[in-house]
Amino acid sequence: MKKTGAQILCEGLIEEGVEVMFGFPGGVLLPFYDTLPQYPQIRHILVRHEQGAAHAADGYARATGKVGVCMATSGPGATNLVTGIANAYLDSSPVVALTGQVSRPVIGKDAFQEIDITGITLPITKHSYVAMETGSLAQIIKEAFYLARTGRPGPVLIDLPKDVMQEQAEYSYPDKVDLPGYKIPTRGHPTQLKNAARLINEAQRPVIIAGRGVIISGAGEELKQLAETGQIPVITTLLGIGCFPENHVLSYGMAGMHGSGYANKAIVDTDLLIAVGMRFDDRITGEIKGFAPNAKIIHIDLDPAEIGKNVSVNMPIVGDVRAVLQALQKQVDAREHIDWIKQLEEWRKQHPMTDIRDGPELIPQYIIRQLYEATGGEAVIVTGVGQHQMWTAQHYVFNEPNNFISSGGLGAMGFGLPASMGAKVGRPDKTVWCIDGDGSLQMTIQELATLVQDNIAVKIAIMNNGYLGMVRQWQDLFYDKRYVATPLAGPDFVKVAEAYRIPGLRVTSREEVTPAIEQAMEHDGPFLIDFMVEPEENVFPMVPPGASNIEFIEQPKKEVSTWPQQSTP
């Protein structure tokens, strides 16, 4: 049966199980948008800026594990997607980005709103296509979704010339892909597995460091079994948060630049580091010479190119994390590491993360802890990028995968609001909180309108300190407090919300925190709370840039007092 390119695209999206897409129309996309009403199965959410579409698709993908879809028109629409595509690429998020393109006869002629978007996105996509023939569009869609979600997931872009959308071609949806150059490693090499198990069984002070690969692969249960069998402490990366329950007795939180002191000390002291689904980002390793200096390293990852890229490892195992952990677990002896765990507990006491300073000031750590209490740790938490992101990682306790959604590799301010929108659309049953900074939020604040138009009930908590806080913190600690270009005169966020017809509250004291959170959650619809926090609060501990992880700086001592002794959850 003959169909137009636009119809083929819609059919393909439905075949791939797409229920929702985030987009913004434009001239060359009109044939598509004109066709879309024929397919009411696809919910289209109109964003206010294409960056929001890309981040929303990414947030949707991370919250659901399904492929997120975004669409933008040619030229400026396409270039506006770039930050969001890069973000999805660096955090291995399955996204299909659809861009309009000028008609084929004028491609290459610098036509109105023509830009070479596949060229621009070459280094930030897993793969990309220009659909030059309507007849091959179905095959391209099939391949794009397959590539986005399999193996190491990532963004795939399809550029769609206008006349391809209008032209008719014979349509049938292909049932298989033809990608001879695409290999997905599955099981680890048996010898490597055997050797790794031997290393684990011989280790005296083993530590697991788990990343987002565990979440992507759905290997939480396998990781838990391995850790429990071998009594191996588990540390996560930022994006690995939630892959192992943080209330588990073997959980030692996050390592790295703003990781816990005890996690960083454990990595320095361990004799066997078992790295699972992580890629040794510099924010995790600190100065590379000081990273696990006494350890043999087992590296389990799906992507062979990650092996030996930043850190040389003793025992690489390339394969699906879940399959590898399943196989490994069978060969690992039940062990106890009593002295080692005692040592870690001692460090936990010396460098506590759960203590929150007592006093009258409204500090972000306190708010995040209250958010945790009020949501029972059950909410999906999405953050922007900056201090608030680190405080969230430190003080909210995540016990499930996919509940912490944050921009890790790219560190893209402005991610929070649109990504939380995508997360809420993907998991409408969940409470979704966007914890954002006043700086980060202002980068994509226009999406408040999208929340209203599509009634997406995201709750927004702004840690408003009137600064670009993380940059200010670096200026404070490493540039003699010269606060250049970091003081931030913000708007009255409650009034901004009101202008968008979103109710809001301003909170200035600790007593108001919990009631405000409760009010926000009781409200049926989006809600914004502007928390006026201590302006010059810093994130501690901190490993100074370029330093080894062991050289972490802690909160200046005089400020610390143990606030209502928390039982570590």
Binding site: L122, P123, H127, G181, H189, P316
Partner: protein
């Protein structure tokens, strides 16, 4: 780790943008290519790319793995150290007068090169061989006045019987072996 010359052979799909993707990857990851040559392979729709890179084993292994990740790249093999034949072709236009012409022809003969064009004031020589051979002849010709040089990138093939072709299974095995060597 010492930098050495490596010869990579990539079998890639004949699709628009393949070379662009490869070149973009070299630039982005900071890999320097010394030579690259592209042409049809024995299989329809597949091209063969021969890449010469200078670098440590670890760096080149990283190049190889990154290339292998490209969807349109079917496989990449590092054939360095295998018994291989490497060839390039050069066209050299050299100044020649009636006094020097015969001497130049003699040099070309020694290198089993061909004279492909003769003009009143120049000779154009075609030479095929490995890099050293081409360089040696060039050195001898410099004195006469080399006016123009065009060199293809190098192409390479493993010597021996059909079984020694860099089939995927074999390259996979040698890859793991190399890995282990480096890691320890």
């Amino acid at each position: 780790m010492a930098a050495t010359k490596h010869t990579l052979v990539a079998i890639v799909q004949d699709k628009p943008g393949v070379l662009n993707r490869m070149a973009s990857l070299f630039r982005r990851r900071g890999f320097n290519i010394e030579s690259i040559a592209v042409g049809h392979s024995e299989l329809p729709h597949l091209s063969r790319v021969t890449i010469i890179v200078n670098g440590s084993n670890a760096m080149v292994e990283q190049v190889r793995k990154q290339l292998d990740k490209l969807i349109d790249v079917v496989r990449v093999t590092d054939i360095t150290g295998d018994n291989i034949t490497i060839r390039e072709l050069a066209l050299i236009k050299v100044r020649a007068t009636s006094a020097t012409r015969s001497e130049i022809i003699e040099i070309a003969d020694i290198f089993r090169a061909n004279i492909v064009d003769v003009a009143s004031d120049s000779l154009t020589i075609e030479i095929t061989g490995d890099e050293d051979k081409v360089d040696s002849m060039l050195k001898l010709l410099r004195g006469f006045g080399v006016r123009e040089i065009a060199r293809t990138g190098r192409i390479a093939m493993v010597r021996g019987s059909l079984r020694s072709l860099p089939v995927e299974e074999k390259s996979l095995k040698s890859r793991t072996k190399n890995n282990r060597k480096e890691m320890n």
